[in-house]
C-alpha cells in the first residue's frame, strides 16, 4: 500500500516471541496469541505448525501421552498403498507384514497377527474383533486419500478410549466431506499391485450439507515362500462407501457414513477365503453453551469371513455412545460418557477347531469420567479419571489413570502418567477348542480372567521453531497374561487357557522432525523396547511367553521429504528393524521411495518403490518352509481431480 511503512518483520522463533512479550511497548493489548503471531515474519508463519480447525483445545489425555500423528501428507509421501503400510510411519508402533494380506501390528510389544492389546478406531468405530481382540487388517481398507490424519497413542488409553486400549490406540480420522469436493480418479499398478483404482465424488446437498461417495477395487500379488515359489495368498477386494456432513444448525452437526466391501483371498487349503461386510455410523454433536458440548454416536458393523477348512464367522456389532464435556469454573474441565455395545457372533465350526458355544450374544456397558484440573492455569495441569466397564465374562472392571502435564517453558513440556488397564477376555480366551470335537487337545479357558497392566510413563516434548522432538519412556507390569496350562500334569495334554504368566516391559520412544529449509523436511523415530515374561508359581506353561514376545528390541525410521523445482517432490523412508530372536527373524533394513510430479493442480503422477534394498525379506512368523517373504515392489500411481 502506498506510503504505508511495513512493520519490520523480526526473525524470531515463536519461542523468542514469547520471551520478548515482556518488552515495553508490546504489552499494550491484553489479547491472545494473535498478537504474538502478528510479531512473526511471513517466513516464520510458514514454518509454524498449525492445527486444523478444532473448537476445543486438545485434551490432556492426548498431550500427556506418547502420541504421534500421521498426516495425510505423510501418507501421500510414503507411497503407502494400504492402511497397515501407512501405520509404518508411526515409530511408536511395531508393524510387521506376514504375507500379502496379514499384518502383525502392536505398540509396546506383544505383537502377533492376533495382537490383542491395541484399540483400533476408524472414525469412532471399533474395528478389532471380539473373537480374539485383534484386527483383521485385510478388511480395513480406508481409501488413503480420504484420511485426514491417524493419531497413534502408545501406552494405555483405557480411561478415555475404552476397552482393549491396553498398550495403545490407533485412531483413523477421515476428512470432512466439505474437504473432498469434486471428482477424484486415481489408479495404477505395479509388480506387487497388479491393478487398483478409486473413484470419488464430493458434492453439496443444499447450503449446509456436503457428501462424498467412493468406490475402489484392488488386487495384490502373492508373497513368496523361502524356496522362491509364490505362496498362494493373492487376493482382491472391492469396496464402496459414503460420508455425509451436515451443519444442521449453528450449534449442531450430523455425520452419517458407511462402507461395504467384498473380497476373495487364495489360500493353501482348497477353496478361497471369502470376506465381506459393511458398517454405518451416525454421529450427532451439539454445542450447548460456550463451555459445554454433547456428542452421541451410533453404529452397526457386520463382518463375514469364511475360511474353508478352518472356520467361518458372522459378527454383528451394535454400539451406542454418549459423551458430554463441560468446563466448570476456571479450573475444571470435565468429560464423561456412557456406552453400550451388543455383539452377536456366530461361528461355523469345522473339524479343525471350534468356538463353543458356536453362537453367543455378549454385552458391554461402559461409563467414564475424567476431570482435567488446572492447578496452575496453562502451566500445570492434572487429569484424573476412570473407566468402569461391565462385561459378560468378568463383570465389573475399573481402569483409572492419572496424568500430569507441566509446561516448563513455551517450547518444552514434561508429562507423566500412571494408568491401570485390563484386557478383558475375548471369545478365543474362553471358548476356543482344538480340534473341533472331543477329545480336545485345547479345551477352552473356563477360568480365564482379565489380563492386568499397571503402566508408568514419563515424557518430554520440545518444539522450537522448525524443530520438534518428543521422547516417551515407560515401565509396565503385567499380571495374569495368557498361558497354556496342563489339565492333568504331567500329562502334556489336554491344555486349557489360563492366566499363568506375569511380565514387564520397558523402553523409550523418540521422534523428531526438522525443517531443514521450508521445502525440505526430515523426520526420524527410534524405539527401544524390552519385554520379559515369566510363569507364575504353579503354572505349567512351557512357552516362556513365546507368543507374547515376538518384538524386535529396537527399530529406527528416517523419512526425508523435499519439494524440488518444477512441481516435483521426492520422498524416501528408511527403516531398520532389529531381529526377533525367538522366531529367528533376522534384522533387516528397507527403503521406500516416491517420486511425484504435479504438472497442474489437477494431475499428480508418481512412481513408488517399496522394500527396495532386498529382493525379498522376512518380517514375522515362525521359521519353516511356509514362512512368507515380502518382495521388492514398484508401482505407478495417477491421480486426476476435476
Amino acid at each position: 500500500m502506498a506510503g504505508v511503512p511495513a512493520k519490520a518483520p523480526r526473525l524470531l522463533t515463536l519461542g523468542l516471541v514469547f520471551a520478548l512479550v515482556g518488552t515495553p511497548g508490546f504489552a499494550q493489548q491484553p489479547d491472545t496469541a494473535a498478537q504474538a503471531l502478528k510479531r512473526m515474519s511471513i517466513e516464520q508463519l510458514m514454518t509454524l505448525e498449525v492445527t486444523s480447525v478444532s473448537k476445543r483445545p486438545e485434551r490432556l489425555g492426548q498431550t500427556a501421552s506418547a502420541i504421534q500423528v500421521i498426516t495425510q501428507d505423510d501418507i501421500r509421501g510414503s507411497g503407502a498403498s494400504s492402511l497397515p503400510e501407512a501405520l509404518r510411519l508411526a515409530s511408536n508402533l511395531q508393524v510387521a507384514q506376514l504375507d500379502s494380506r496379514q499384518w502383525a501390528i502392536s505398540a509396546r510389544g506383544f505383537n502377533s497377527t492376533s495382537a490383542n492389546k491395541l484399540l483400533v478406531l476408524i472414525d469412532g468405530r471399533t474395528v478389532y474383533t471380539p473373537l480374539f481382540s485383534g484386527v483383521f487388517w485385510d478388511v480395513q481398507e480406508v481409501p488413503l486419500a480420504d484420511i485426514d490424519r491417524i493419531e497413534v497413542i502408545s501406552g494405555p488409553g483405557a480411561t478415555l478410549w475404552g476397552a482393549n486400549a491396553v498398550n495403545g490406540v490407533i485412531n483413523v480420522i477421515t476428512k470432512d466431506a466439505k474437504d473432498t469436493p469434486g471428482l477424484l480418479l486415481s489408479g495404477g499398478g505395479g509388480t506387487e499391485l497388479p491393478g487398483f483404482g478409486t473413484a470419488r465424488y464430493g458434492g453439496a446437498l443444499g447450503a449446509r450439507a456436503r457428501y462424498r461417495i467412493y468406490g475402489s477395487r484392488f488386487a495384490r500379488d502373492p508373497s513368496v515362500l523361502p524356496s522362491g515359489q509364490d505362496a498362494p495368498d493373492d487376493w482382491h477386494l472391492g469396496q464402496g462407501g459414503f460420508r455425509l456432513d451436515w451443519d444442521a444448525s449453528t450449534v449442531s452437526r450430523v455425520t452419517l457414513q458407511g462402507d461395504l466391501y467384498d473380497g476373495r483371498i487364495d489360500q493353501l487349503s482348497p477353496g478361497d477365503i471369502a470376506v465381506s461386510g459393511g458398517n454405518v455410523v451416525a454421529k450427532w454433536g451439539r454445542t450447548i453453551s460456550e463451555t459445554s458440548d454433547l456428542t452421541a454416536q451410533l453404529y452397526y458393523d457386520r463382518t463375514h469371513r469364511n475360511i474353508p477348512g478352518t472356520f467361518g464367522e458372522d459378527l454383528d456389532m451394535y454400539d451406542v455412545e454418549l459423551q458430554h464435556q463441560a468446563r466448570l469454573g476456571a479450573r475444571h474441565d470435565l468429560v464423561w460418557g456412557l456406552g453400550y455395545r451388543l455383539m452377536n457372533d456366530n461361528v461355523a465350526n469345522t473339524t479343525a477347531l471350534a468356538f463353543l458355544p458356536a453362537h453367543v450374544a455378549r454385552q458391554w456397558f461402559t461409563g467414564f469420567v475424567q476431570d482435567e484440573i488446572a492447578l496452575v492455569p496453562n502451566r500445570l495441569h492434572v487429569a484424573l479419571g476412570t473407566k468402569v466397564e461391565h462385561n459378560n465374562y468378568t463383570g465389573f472392571e475399573i481402569q483409572p489413570s492419572g496424568r500430569v502435564n507441566w509446561t516448563v517453558s513455551p517450547s518444552a513440556t514434561l508429562w507423566a502418567a500412571v494408568s491401570r488397564a485390563v484386557r478383558t477376555p475375548s471369545r478365543i480366551d474362553r471358548e476356543f477348542f482344538v480340534p473341533g470335537q472331543p477329545p480336545y487337545f485345547l479345551a477352552g479357558g473356563p477360568g480365564f480372567h482379565s489380563e492386568e497392566e499397571l503402566a508408568y510413563e514419563l515424557g518430554y516434548r520440545h518444539q522450537h521453531g522448525s524443530f520438534a522432538l518428543s521422547a516417551a519412556t515407560f515401565y509396565s507390569r503385567y499380571h495374569g497374561l495368557r498361558s497354556l496350562e496342563q489339565v492333568n500334569p504331567p500329562a502334556a495334554t489336554p491344555i486349557v487357557i489360563g492366566n499363568g504368566q506375569d511380565g514387564e516391559s520397558y523402553g523409550a520412544e523418540l521422534s523428531a522432525a526438522y525443517w531443514l529449509t521450508p521445502r525440505w523436511r526430515v523426520r526420524a523415530g527410534y524405539t527401544e523396547l524390552r519385554v520379559h515374561i515369566w510363569p507364575n508359581p504353579g503354572s505349567t506353561d512351557t512357552s516362556r511367553g513365546l507368543t507374547e514376545s515376538q518384538t524386535p528390541d529396537h527399530q529406527l525410521f528416517v523419512h526425508s521429504s523435499v519439494d524440488l523445482p518444477a512441481h516435483v517432490r521426492l520422498d524416501a523412508g528408511l527403516r531398520a528393524v532389529g531381529k526377533i530372536a525367538r522366531r529367528q527373524v533376522p534384522s533387516y533394513e528397507e527403503l521406500n521411495a516416491r517420486l511425484s510430479w504435479q504438472p497442474t493442480a489437477r494431475l499428480d503422477l508418481s512412481i513408488i518403490g517399496q522394500n527396495l534394498l532386498n529382493p525379498r525379506h522376512v518380517e514375522f512368523g515362525a521359521p519353516g518352509p511356509t514362512r512368507r517373504e515380502i518382495q521388492r515392489g514398484v508401482y505407478g500411481l495417477l491421480e486426476w481431480r476435476f
Binding site: M1, A2, G3, V4, P5, A6, P9, L14, G15, F18, V21, G22, P24, A27, Q29, P30, D31, T32, A33, Q35, A36, L37, K38, M40, I42, E43, L45, M46, T47, L48, E49, V50, T51, S52, V53, S54, P57, E58, T63, T71, D73, D74, K178, D179, P181, R210, N378, R379, H381, T407, P410, A412, T413, R461, Q463, A468, P518, T600, A601, R602
Partner: protein
C-alpha cells in the same frame, strides 16, 4: 495501578503462549491465516483509486461461510496502516461486495472461482483462498496447507491484471504459479 497495567497484559500473553505450548506449539489454522491476511495488507500496493481518501479504511472481506470465527476481527482490531484503520466485512455473494481490498474466498466457493473472479471484473482486490488450484484458476494467492504448514502460491499475472504491486518480501516466500496449461 500503573504496575498492574503493565504486568497484566504480559501475564495474559504468557498465558496465550503456554496454551500454544500445551498444544505442542501449534496455532490454529485460521488464526495463522488471519495473520497472513493482515501481513498481505502490508506487502501489497493498491492503485490510488482504491483509497479515495487518506483515511479510507483498508477492508478485508470474507466471501461465503466464514471459517475464521473471531480470529480475523481480533487480528485487525485497533490496527492502523499509515493512518488507515482496518475493517472486516462479510459477504454472501460477489455482487454485494462494495469496498474491498483483500477478499478471502471460502474453500467451498473457491474451488470453482471463475464465476466469482469474473464478477470482480479485475477490480483492484487481492483475492485469496485455500481452495485447491485457486491460483492456477485465476485467483491471486492460495494458502496451501502442506505437512501442517501453510505455504503460499501466487499468481503474478492475476495481480498485475488488477494493478496490484506485490512486495518483494512476499514474492520471495511465495511459489509463483501460472494459469493452467502454461
Amino acid at each position: 495501578m500503573a504496575f498492574l497495567r503493565r504486568v497484566l497484559p504480559v501475564v495474559a500473553l504468557l498465558g496465550a503462549g503456554h496454551r500454544l505450548a500445551a498444544q505442542g506449539v501449534r496455532a490454529s489454522e485460521y488464526q495463522v491465516k488471519a495473520v497472513f491476511l493482515f501481513n498481505f495488507a502490508q506487502f501489497v500496493d493498491w492503485p490510488a483509486e482504491a483509497f479515495p481518501a487518506p483515511d479510507t479504511p483498508l477492508v478485508i472481506c470474507v466471501l461465503g461461510n466464514d471459517p475464521f470465527g473471531d480470529a480475523l476481527d481480533q487480528t485487525v482490531r485497533d490496527e492502523r496502516l499509515g493512518g488507515r484503520p482496518l475493517q472486516v466485512q462479510r459477504y454472501h455473494s460477489v455482487d454485494e461486495i462494495k469496498t474491498c481490498h483483500i477478499l478471502f474466498i471460502n474453500r467451498s466457493e473457491g474451488a470453482r472461482p471463475e464465476e466469482i473472479l469474473a464478477g470482480l471484473k479485475q477490480r483492484p482486490i487481492l483475492t485469496v483462498s485455500d481452495a485447491d488450484g485457486f491460483a492456477q484458476r485465476g485467483g491471486m494467492i492460495r494458502f496451501v496447507t502442506d505437512r501442517n504448514r501453510i505455504r503460499l502460491q501466487l499468481n503474478l499475472a492475476a495481480t498485475q491484471a488488477a494493478h496490484l504491486t506485490i512486495s518483494s518480501k512476499l514474492l520471495r516466500v511465495a511459489e509463483i504459479v501460472t494459469r493452467n496449461g502454461s
